[in-house]
Point group: C2
Chain length 385, copies 2
């Protein structure tokens, strides 16, 4: 259940960033007609990765792993598209399907997963490169907001095609991609794009390339006119002449970012979500029923009420774990497993003359004792979507 | 694009109502293993309606048209489920797939569509009936909030199974279901459940049954132990003994509600969305560039600003249609096609000594002339999600 809450919040952050650069959200079908994929020649090219099926009339379909064909056809059908409406950025956040030979690690690489895919249409190569750049910057902002270190590396264009491509990689030991990063300049690339024994930086030629592992969480492609030529996606230019659009496409592995974030942020004891999208920001623990400090229970309820009152941005983000038949220790372990960024224990110290709450900050692992005002000040700066 | 915005808002209303009765949201896969469906015997029963496919290892899958098998297995795997945690209400809003012989009217009956499906688990038949009732009430509330007249009728259980079932039907001429409604008592049923020439009410026996047509937008089933027996979905009862849960399942056609609402609410000239989920609540039209009243343009911008200031619930809900190269008439027609509930024309009357705005209320078709304060008063009561 918590995964669904977090997924929804992550989609909201993605929506903000994509709409921030002019992206318009839509929803394309999962069932894709084979005709379109045969036209682009990817019906054969995709091989076993493509899930294929037939309908009751024996017509061929595939489950869309990506939607270049569908979106380009959609734009081709807009009879009146003018250069004034460009760049046109269309995106969706939907389930994609890929018959992976080795699905692994649950959400990290499943055969069915949520992906954000955006497609851009521009009037010239120059304009398309500007759009490409603006999407890369939006990706960089997104990962920064999620508190994830991300490296943008040169990448292969694979069966999508095009002439320019970058991957967004989260450095992680369990990553399956091998990256080469220059110690001197800004150069970074997927090993696939270089000769395997390369050690000198091809950009600055003085630096040495250092290898690390990464989890691919985003991929951008400058496509040129590959799909727009095939499907006749045109716009009217300044002279009112139909002109083939320059395209780009941009993927983000929505479920994979979630899985990768947990992988790189969590510890043995505690799950850690990116704070911004955590399912709840604060969990308050009243004392165990029948314990010496049972009377502090009312202070816990009071605290939840006060937080709601003084911190409107945290409304709906504070949980009271009132399973008071359980010990504090047991509930603390559960809180660790669920990944609340802040856990507040209301116990002995809350009953003292100068009442203090025990506050465990999951992101840093620190424990601090704070007065009610101190706690409010701490939580005032917590960002939510 | 607007459909996606409206769809998202509708999902928010559904989330509110489902979580209001204790529903917990999750996300189950579309690719369903044939094994589960063979176990329930629906693999054969579903016939051609089920989209079937094989993966690269030649294993059989179907695209889930509904998820009784999956959710019951999920609950069966919760080793420690206790009667204290019941009723358990799990739901999702995902794409479903059904190989319809005759897909029609776009979103009204597609082969791929969004459905909300909820599944309930209870400790006794009595408790399950109470849950069933509470879901039906939530559905009724939902349709009331959307401003849609909806009839709850007795229905067939079809291949889902179970012993009790209702459909939620929107009366509409293009509807494909035939309903019989008693003119005297509260009885209402799908024709399928009665003998076709029935004219006397089987409930009050004095009333006459009147036939009408309806679009099915929701369906509820009391399942008993049909699936929980097969998949061993049990909980620990008061005596700590494993006991088979009583189940119900409850569908809402999310995309279909949208299509049906447009169908029953719209006119020849104007699309009408349920006000609560309209893509934007207000569209402000400044005068055409170069027209006699061009100077009113600044008043239009000023109005948008004022509305944002005085009506925080409408922030992000007010659109300024600044395509001022187009006539007011042309933009009014576009506004009608997009379905903004309120369209405000800023023209001649806004420049008079007692400035008035021309306000077109799409839901009623009325046009009124209001001062700025009058407009703010009118819009203050507009509900948003």
């Amino acid at each position: 259940m918590y995964e669904t809450v977090v997924l929804n919040q992550q989609v909201r952050v993605i929506d903000q960033e994509m709409q921030g650069i002019g992206g318009q959200k839509l929803d394309m079908p999962s069932l894709c007609s084979a005709d379109l994929w045969k036209t682009s020649e990817r019906w054969d090219l995709m091989g076993k990765e493509l899930f294929r099926l037939k309908d009751r009339h024996n017509a061929d379909y595939c489950l869309g792993p990506t939607h270049e064909e569908a979106v380009t056809t959609l734009v081709a059908h807009q009879a009146t598209l003018s250069y004034r409406q460009l760049p046109l950025l269309l995106y969706q956040v939907t389930r994609k399907f890929r018959d992976e030979p080795k699905p692994r690690f649950g959400l990290l690489r499943g055969r069915e997963f949520y992906m954000k895919d955006m497609y851009s249409f521009d009037m010239s190569e120059e304009a398309a490169h500007k759009t490409y750049e603006s999407v890369c910057q939006a990706y960089t902002r997104l990962f920064a907001r999620l508190g994830l270190r991300c490296v943008q590396v040169q990448a292969d264009t694979g069966n999508i095609g095009g002439t320019l491509s970058h991957e967004f990689q989260l450095p992680a030991d369990i990553g399956e991609d091998r990256l080469l990063v220059c110690g001197t300049c800004s150069f970074a690339a997927n090993v696939e794009t270089l000769s395997p024994d390369k050690t000198d930086c091809p950009q600055c030629s003085t630096g040495t390339l250092v290898e690390s592992k990464g989890i691919e969480v985003g991929h951008t492609f400058y496509l040129g006119r590959k799909y727009s030529n095939i499907f006749k996606a045109t716009f009217s230019n300044h002279q009112n002449k139909p002109t083939v659009a320059e395209m780009g496409c941009y993927g983000l592995g929505v479920t994979r970012i979630l899985a990768a974030a947990i992988e790189v942020m969590s510890t043995e004891e505690a799950i850690r979500w990116p704070g911004l999208i955590a399912p709840y920001q604060v969990c308050v623990l009243p004392p165990k029923k029948g314990s010496k400090v049972e009377e502090a229970a009312v202070l816990a309820e009071d605290l939840v009420h006060t937080l709601g009152q003084f911190l409107p941005h945290l409304r709906g983000e504070v949980v009271l774990d009132d399973r008071t038949q359980m010990t504090i220790g047991k509930r603390l372990r559960d809180a660790g497993r669920l990944g609340y960024p802040y856990v507040v224990v209301v116990g002995q110290t809350a009953l003292e003359e100068m009442p203090k709450f025990e506050v465990i900050c999951q992101q840093t692992g620190e424990t601090v004792f704070l007065s009610k005002d101190g706690l409010i000040d701490l939580l005032r700066t917590v960002e939510t979507v």
